[in-house]
């Protein structure tokens, strides 16, 4: 708690700085794309939120595996704390994708491999949060949610690589590539990197904060139980 308490203000401050600079740069200082017009500015929200939605589930998977193997209580609480942040990012990615898709594809939604696997990931997030709420015993809840997290990881990976597995569908391929020929223009690349860093740091800050709250909730429940038994 002491270490996370020391880190938290720095991580939160850095996240705010990256987000403010990245979003202002992306929104106000980038030109319109020759094909997509001003809608290209949605990329600074859509790509970072999708990145955090997928990687957030991966963080939950690692924390769940640590719980299942080592029975480390804080790791179970990290997974629980990450879920509301992940589902918010999934909603942002789905929503900005729909808003972007409407003028570009002529439809808000298509049953495209990447969109569909992302929608299933959203449902897994929903189920994961509901399962934590539904089970009273925290250890049983951690066990069952860990199993659900492992099953959901298939869709987290699928939503990342769906465009490579299936070539049909409306969604374009990867926006970011190390291949110089496919690489996006630096005009968009630099603010996008800042926004991605900002979203990742925001995720980290929120997970730290929410994990601290969950640890305190556990301690509070233990103290109340001790009072009742005394």
């Amino acid at each position: 708690m002491q270490v996370s308490g020391r880190f938290l203000p720095w991580v939160a401050g850095l996240a705010a700085l990256c987000l403010v600079v990245g979003l202002i740069w992306g929104f106000f200082l980038t030109p319109d794309d020759y094909r997509q017009g001003a809608t290209v500015k949605i990329i600074f929200l859509h790509v970072p939120s999708a990145l955090v939605a997928i990687n957030g589930w991966m963080v939950m998977l690692v924390a769940s595996l640590i719980w299942l193997i080592r029975r480390h209580h804080v790791s179970a609480l990290v997974a629980k704390a990450a879920a509301p942040v992940g589902i918010t990012m999934t909603v942002i990615a789905l929503m900005t994708g729909a808003i972007w898709g409407q003028p570009m594809w002529g439809t808000w939604w298509a049953w495209d491999p990447r969109l569909t696997s992302f929608l299933i990931l959203f449902m897994f997030y929903l189920g994961y949060i509901a399962l934590w709420q539904a089970i009273e015993d925290p250890d049983t809840a951690a066990d069952l949610t860990s199993v659900l997290c492992m099953v959901g990881s298939v869709f987290a990976i699928l939503s990342r690589y769906a465009v490579l597995f299936w070539n049909q569908g409306l969604h374009q391929g990867a926006s970011l590539s190390m291949d110089k020929q496919q690489h996006m223009s630096d005009t968009y690349w630099y603010p996008l990197v800042l926004c991605m860093a900002g979203f990742m740091l925001l995720f980290l800050a929120l997970v730290l904060l929410r994990t601290r709250t969950e640890v305190r909730r556990r301690r509070l429940q233990a103290l109340i139980l001790r009072e009742r038994m005394a």
Partner: protein, 50 residues
């Protein structure tokens, strides 16, 4: 200062507005829950000391 968004102004401003609203809501809720839990724990711990 405001960039010229043309016919896509609604889509771009809508995407930014809704996303920032969701992020602000998540941050606000997380901070509120943290502050409330800290206060409740402190009360119970102090009650235990008495």
């Amino acid at each position: 200062m405001m960039p010229e968004l043309g016919k896509y102004a609604g889509a771009v401003l809508g995407a930014y507005g809704l996303s920032l609203l969701l992020i602000a809501g998540l941050v606000g809720l997380s901070v509120w829950q943290a502050v409330r839990m800290h206060a409740r724990l402190r009360d119970v711990e102090e009650r235990g000391k008495e």
